[in-house]
């Protein structure tokens, strides 16, 4: 960073070095403020009870590993391992459902001609804007009638029916960018629509599918509202829902373990983010463009 300005200083279009350095300083300053809550979370999860509040210092005087062992015991006699497993089960079920059903629907919308395609596509887009609450109560009643309240089906089953229109749209946008000639060639070779979908289009759609998978995982993992209304047995709780019991209790002695548990709940998202940030950022960018 220090040598670059000198070598490129001659170019007319480049900004002068001080302006560029000021820009970086400004961006890093904003970034530091933004990352503070995350640093605070991590630091607090290691703090002994008496240091949690009242001390402005970010770093604890000594690392209190006890917070983590308390957190491992979980909440309501249900250990973290179990909670983690429950969260994973829901998130992976949702990922599987979304990837399968959304890519099927997207293929029809993006690459096949059929009657009613226009109106149905418009309806699908409209459901992106539909507030979840407008369908929430009847959905709850339906799942209640089916005996599925306090099971994971209300979180997973809708995903197999492509109810997340956002992802259908995302995959449609991606599939539209693939050249038409691919299928024409496949058709000449004797492929029907099913063969061209599985053998030609789907493999090429992989980036969009990965984006869908990661976003579904993270959003399902974080989702609080659905889990709150459908799950009530502590055995079935997810990590997110287990954190809820800390919401009611305001005793500060539980602060350390509570944030240790929060770290457990955030860790998979952070790991996913670090591993797949390119897909996430690009997936987000492309969803808003080419509309």
């Amino acid at each position: 960073m220090t040598t670059a300005p000198i070598t490129t200083a001659g170019t007319a279009r480049k900004r002068p070095a001080p302006a560029r350095i000021a820009l970086h300083i400004g961006l890093i300053a904003v970034l530091l403020v933004m990352l503070y809550p995350l640093a605070w979370l991590l630091a607090t999860s290691f703090k002994p009870a008496d240091e949690v509040i009242a001390s402005l210092k970010l770093l604890p005087s000594h690392f209190e590993w006890g917070n983590y062992s308390t957190a491992l015991d979980g909440v309501n006699e249900v250990g973290v391992g179990r909670l983690l497993w429950n969260s994973l089960l829901i998130a992976c079920g949702a990922v599987l459902g979304n990837v399968i059903s959304c890519s099927l629907a997207a293929y029809a919308f993006a690459r096949l001609r059929f009657r009613m395609r226009g109106p149905l596509f418009a309806f699908m887009i409209a459901t992106i804007m539909l507030p979840h609450h407008a369908i929430l109560i009847p959905q709850y009643i339906i799942f209640n009638q089916l005996g599925m309240v306090n099971t994971y089906w209300p979180m997973i089953l809708p995903k197999f029916l492509a109810t997340d229109a956002f992802f259908v749209f995302l995959i449609v946008q991606f599939m539209r960018g693939l050249p038409r000639e691919l299928e024409e060639a496949a058709r000449i070779d004797g492929c029907g629509p099913f063969r061209s979908f599985f053998s030609v289009i789907l493999p090429l759609t992989r980036p969009a599918l990965i984006t869908t998978a990661i976003f579904t995982f993270i959003w399902t993992w974080n989702d609080f509202f659905t889990q709150l209304i459908y799950l009530f047995e502590p055995e079935k709780f997810t990590l997110t829902l287990a954190l809820r019991s800390f919401v009611d209790a305001s005793s500060q002695s539980a602060f350390g373990p509570m944030f240790a548990m929060s770290v457990f709940a955030l860790l998979p998202i952070v790991l996913f983010f670090l591993a797949f940030q390119r897909f996430l950022v690009e997936g987000m960018a492309s969803s808003g463009l080419k509309g």
Binding site: L23, W40, L104, A108, F114, R117, P138, R176, S262
Partner: protein, 320 residues
């Protein structure tokens, strides 16, 4: 002119359509691919919408059969329920504070990032990270602690002589902390802005610079018009999301919407009526008003967009 240029192109496939013999078979295939979505859209979207509309005219507690009460839920909501109006006011306050500030910050950082050469990928990812983490209960709990009495924000502010105390316990300030959590997640719209900025042809700026246009003039006459479709997209999306805020308000107030109902956002009150008080009919009526409100706001935005959203590359339609 643009319309006549694109029309022959889109008409071309149907001209050669005669060669595509198995057209009916392909129609059938389309419906097979579409079947999960069709099932979901009917059983889990359209049907529930109709049912919730019906329930909104009933008294229903999940145990006894719904009893028809006509418009009573609605009249009660609008004329006899101060908490309802409280929740409307709280939500509007939150939306009006959070959405514009989030978008302004997103645009500002995107513009700054556009001219960054080194470390652009790093910045982009780092600014984006809170958008994924921020929706979690974990971060909502962090927020409650930071803005609580004796929390970091309280300490910092009293150090500079502003003794507000814990925001969480102060009506008026508590909802502001929720808004700040939303503003904190400006990374998602920022990434979309940045992608939009990169599609603006550099020649436009070069020509403007030759004409001696100032930075501000270029921003107003090139950046904003060229970016207006993306700006519009972000505005609609963030607005719709903001109307449905739930988790941070729940966490900050311990699920109660306090203090003094000051964080009782619309969906939190809806949850309270429907799932805590078992007034499913009333909650359904609230849901339908929310649906209509979001519909009206979106429609108004689309209407006004004709005046300020500028679609530059209509001619490239059908490109990749």
């Amino acid at each position: 002119m643009t319309a006549t240029a694109t029309r022959p192109q889109s008409a071309a496939p149907s001209a050669t359509g005669g060669k595509r013999a198995p057209k009916r078979e392909r129609q059938g295939a389309a419906w097979v691919f579409l079947s999960p979505w069709v099932l979901g859209a009917t059983v889990l979207t359209l049907l529930p919408m109709a049912v919730s509309l019906y329930l909104s005219f009933t008294d229903y507690d999940m145990f006894d059969a719904p009893s028809w009460v006509g418009f009573r839920n609605y009249t009660q909501m609008f004329t006899e329920d101060p908490r309802y109006w409280r929740s409307v006011g709280t939500t509007l306050t939150y939306v009006v504070i959070a959405v514009p500030l989030q978008l302004v910050l997103a645009l500002a950082v995107a513009i700054a990032l556009k001219s960054v050469k080194r470390g652009k990928g790093f910045y982009r990812s780092a600014f984006y990270a809170p958008s994924l983490l921020g929706a979690s209960m974990s971060i909502a709990l962090v927020w409650r602690a930071i803005f609580n009495d004796g929390g970091t924000v309280d300490n910092l502010l009293s150090d500079v002589g502003l003794d507000i105390g814990g925001w969480i316990n102060k009506p008026g300030w508590a909802i502001l902390s929720v808004a700040l959590l939303t503003i904190w997640q400006f990374g998602a719209p920022m990434v979309i802005f940045l992608a939009g900025l990169q599609q603006i042809p550099a020649e436009l700026y070069e020509a403007a610079a030759v004409d001696g246009a100032s930075w501000w003039r270029q921003f107003r006459s090139i950046t904003i018009p060229m970016l207006s479709p993306v700006l519009f997209f972000n505005l609609v999306l963030q607005m719709i999301q903001a109307f449905q805020v739930f988790t941070p308000a729940f966490a900050v107030s311990g699920g109660k919407g306090g203090p003094a109902d000051s964080t009782l956002v619309y969906t939190l009150y809806l949850y309270d009526r429907g799932f805590t008080a078992s007034h499913m009919g009333y909650a359904s009526a609230m849901a339908w008003v929310l649906l209509l409100a979001i519909g009206v706001v979106t429609a108004v935005l689309f209407r006004t967009s004709r005046a300020w959203v500028f679609y530059a590359n209509d001619t490239h339609e059908g490109g990749r």
